[in-house]
């Protein structure tokens, strides 16, 4: 792998950020966030790339004193997702091709894909804000405390909302 400029880059107020480390840590989270939000691996890759490129371009606007870098990037990701949904209302999306990573069992991958598609059908009927929360929790896999910082909700509120959403999701899943 190549490296970003000396692994570190300056942002606002001469603060240094370890871009290499952040990339390795954050990209899978951002990708999985989008995979949950849009339900399509190829689109999730495009959107994750867009969010990262935008974060890189706007890095001098990040201010450490206002919050974690992760929260800032997820703020950008949320905007990218919003832009995508507005655009996709006008333009029909291409049919999804199953994502089977190299070296994986095709049968197992197919079952996982089917489960994921089924989950996506249930998520599609949900409010965008609820889907955003579920994508942060189960897509990006981040803690309720970090979700609270990203969304501005209290930590206990995040926990309560997620519990209700998962209960609803489970009930719908059992009906299918």
């Amino acid at each position: 792998m190549m490296e970003f400029v000396g692994k570190k880059a300056r942002v606002a107020d001469d603060q240094e950020v370890d871009w290499h480390g952040l990339y390795l840590d954050l990209l899978p989270k951002i990708f999985h966030y989008f995979a949950y939000r849009v339900g399509d691996v190829q689109i999730a890759e495009d959107l994750a790339g867009t969010a990262f490129e935008r974060a890189w371009r706007k890095r001098n606007r990040y201010r450490k004193d206002l919050g974690k870098f992760e929260s800032w990037v997820f703020g950008i990701a949320r905007k990218v997702a919003g832009e995508y949904f507005r655009k996709s209302k006008r333009e029909p999306q291409a049919h999804q091709v199953p994502n089977i990573p190299d070296g994986h069992d095709v049968g197992k991958a197919f079952d996982e894909q089917t489960d994921f598609d089924q989950l996506q059908k249930l998520l599609t009927d949900m409010d965008q804000k609820d889907r955003h929360l579920l994508s942060l929790k189960y897509g990006a896999g981040i803690t309720n405390r970090d979700i609270a910082q990203i969304t501005g909700l209290s930590e206990s509120n995040v926990g309560t909302k997620l519990h209700r959403l998962v209960t609803k999701l489970r009930s719908e899943w059992e009906k299918t």
């Binding site: 990708f31 949950y36 890759e45 996982e112």
Partner: protein
Amino acid sequence: MNDQFLYDIRPEMRKAFADELYTRLSQSAKSTPRLKFAYVLLGTLAILLVAAAAWQFMTTNAHFETEINGITINEMDYKIIDSHYYEPIKENPDALSRPGPTQEPRNVFDIMAELPYRISLPSWIPEGMELYELNQDDPGLWSAFFHLEWFSSEDGPSMSLMVHQIGAPMEEKVDAAPHTWKKVNLGEVEAVLVRGNFRFPFNSLEDYLQYFNNGGTWRPAFWDENYGLRLFWTYQDVYYELVTPSSGCAFAFVQCERLPKLSEGDLIKVAESMIK
């Protein structure tokens, strides 16, 4: 279905995707030396352009993209607007009516308690105006964008205040037609006063629906100097945009120029009362 199932069901990220994106970002970072040459070239061109524009300025009084106290003023004769900008109206036809309060009047201290960061609110507003609404785009800490509305009873003027934190992934940019703005001072804080706005580019509901039903995506909005007054400034790491009449009219078929608005003097006085 349990938590582990919801984690395990996630599609795997392709290593090739991560590598390709990393390479792309690295190349953009490594292009700095080439950029330096490009900067020199651009710098030379910029000097030539500035010289040409200065000459033009002396002869035609032309303006340029300017920055005042963190606010960028982008001058253009007309603005091309993507149709999705208008989708909130399509989804909510009520927005087509004259803007007005939809909630009960609000207490300014309650409003302050709801804000996740500190902002300045006016200590003076014209007589008869009341604070009615606080809307927020998203409760997210970084994207927190607040919109406060003041209305007068009956046919008095209305006013909106939009704020967001500097550093949020939003822009501090004003699109305005040439010769329609000026710099004003709010005490020691510099601000930009814009007279007019790009006009809502639909004359009727029929015109608007026909545009969407025919798959319209772009439509130019032209400047109307009577389309309200707007004041922009930044203060203590917060962006402020104070508008009269209420910003809602910019999305309505009711013409903004017909709605009562504050005078330039009163708008500035409200803003001055926000600078401690």
